[in-house]
Symmetry: C2
């Protein structure tokens, strides 16, 4: 992995949680859904990254899930935001907005 790729994944790291919660806020979703959405947005993530993250968010009380049968394979875990998750997402919104502003200040200073 070269430096640029490293920097990119480092940047991605910071916003993954935020993006995943945002995606789930809009629609209940199971892991493969989420992976697809992230891929559409060009935020590549692999299974081994996503599943543990979903579990962590659930353990933190930000997500819950229900099982749903599938016609094409094993049942799926559909994740949704808890009330706490909604609140947390709002804070992340703020944090992200502020960060973008802070970076802009830094990179444009004379």
């Amino acid at each position: 992995m070269n430096n640029t790729e490293k920097a990119r994944s480092q940047m991605r790291k910071g916003v993954l949680e935020y993006c995943i919660l945002s995606i789930i806020k809009n629609n209940e979703a199971y892991a493969s859904d989420i992976l697809d959405r992230l891929k559409e947005a060009e935020l590549i993530v692999v299974e081994g990254t996503l599943y543990p993250l979903l579990t962590r968010l659930k353990n933190d009380g930000l997500l819950n899930y229900r099982w749903e049968e599938s016609t094409s394979g094993p049942p799926r875990k559909y994740y949704g935001l808890t009330d706490e998750g909604q609140d947390f997402l709002k804070e992340l919104d703020t944090a992200w907005t502020e960060l973008v502003a802070a970076v802009a200040r830094t990179t444009s200073s004379k």
Copy 2:
């Protein structure tokens, strides 16, 4: 540290290198300068984070430095960007812009 603070520092993490290189690009600077600038931009960073990072960037050939005497204390290490550092910073610019766009896509999808 609560969840929000954790998330904030996680987000910050990804852009620190970028911000520091940007600051140095604009003016040669020594560590305390950089800390002040980051603070102005509301990107709080502590010494123990900055020094190892500067050393790493130097070892990667992105920064160089010269010693300069000070009238008020020990000599200072003034850091500047190498050519390679300039190139790398351009790539980070692109990476950051793309990330902001990707996050926007994710958080606004219906």
